[in-house]
């Protein structure tokens, strides 16, 4: 069939494990195999880096802060609430 080494994950399998890996949720053995794969597979290393970059971009998507008007509105809400207490 194919010459792939048994027990060695394929790239296709690796990409499905990336999130568990980054979340620190891979069992030790699976993690070791994944890390071994990454040592020799440039492409999967690029893929992993792209996922990290994706996370970084997502984290930069929003930087908006509260407008003074909105803040005032919420302070009024607070004062009304406190007044009724």
């Amino acid at each position: 069939m194919s010459s792939r080494v048994p027990d060695q994950p394929t790239c296709r399998e690796i990409v499905e494990l990336i999130t568990d890996y980054l979340e620190g949720r891979l069992p030790l053995e699976a993690r070791t195999r994944l890390e071994q794969h990454l040592v020799f597979c440039d492409w999967c290393r690029v893929y992993l880096e792209q996922i990290r970059q994706t996370i970084r971009v997502a984290g930069a998507v929003t930087e908006e802060s509260l407008s003074p008007e909105k803040r005032e509105e919420l302070v009024r809400l607070f004062r009304d609430w406190k007044g009724k207490k």
Binding site: M1, S2, S3, R4, T10, C11, R12, E13, V15, E16, I18, T19, D20, E23, R25, C41, D42, W43, C44, V46, Y47, E49, Q50, I51, Q53, T54, I55, R56, V57, A58, G59, A60, V61, T62, E64, S65, L66, K70, R71, E73, L74, V75, L77, F78, R79, W81, K82, K85
Partner: protein, 210 residues
């Protein structure tokens, strides 16, 4: 990993809120309100309703702070209030709550299978069309940020909720499970699919051109 609100600053903030201290309220509002609107927005159809949900949630926070146990972080407690209210609104709007059914395709894959060598190939399952390195300089430019935002909007609701909370808001896995009422395993599946899809959408735009 802090398992729950052991943060000293947070304990003081909670104590001040219980005393109805306006400065404490304002500090919390500055910190959380925009995120709360965004969390609500994932469930409801309009910005206005999301804003309304966030405001209602503040009242619930004020009413409930006395009973806040500190078992989760203050932020995840607040987000769970927002998520619950937003879900209620969404149901009233006639949108079904996406989580109750976890309607996800079972076989969704992270990367298009055509990019790997087919069965029988000498290198079966290894990349045939491998990814190309992305230039870091392209990453945080406005265009990429806009694209990422749009990409997240195209995700199925449950995936979108998880990626917004985890990667945009920076919540912990624990906080997300608490806020959305999902198991840790489901949370990870949703996160995995969401990140994979967003990566795939970004890919053709970020592929480094020689």
């Amino acid at each position: 990993m802090s398992s729950a609100g052991v943060d000293q600053g947070e304990l003081e903030l909670v104590a001040s809120l219980r005393e109805c201290d306006e400065a404490a309220f304002v500090a919390l509002v500055q910190k959380c309100h925009p995120s709360m609107v965004r969390v609500a927005r994932v469930f409801v159809t309009s910005e206005a309703v999301a804003e309304e949900v966030a405001q209602e949630s503040w009242l619930a926070v004020l009413e409930g702070i006395g009973g806040f146990q500190g078992r989760s972080s203050l932020r995840s407690w607040i987000f769970s209030i927002v998520a619950n209210r937003a879900r209620t609104h969404a149901q009233r709007e006639g949108r079904s709550a996406p989580f109750s059914s976890f309607q996800e395709q079972e076989d969704e894959v992270a990367v298009d299978p055509d990019r790997f060598n087919p069965p029988g190939h000498r290198w079966e399952g290894h990349w045939s069309a491998p990814p190309e390195r992305w230039a870091d300089e392209q990453l945080l430019i406005q265009e990429t940020l806009q694209l990422t935002k749009k990409a997240m909007e195209t995700l199925p609701p449950a995936q979108r909720q998880v990626i917004e909370l985890r990667d945009v808001e920076g919540c912990s896995a624990e906080e997300v499970c608490e806020a959305l009422g999902v198991s840790d395993g489901n949370q990870r599946v949703l996160l995995h699919r969401a990140r994979s899809r967003v990566r795939a959408i970004l890919e053709p735009h970020l592929r480094r051109t020689a």
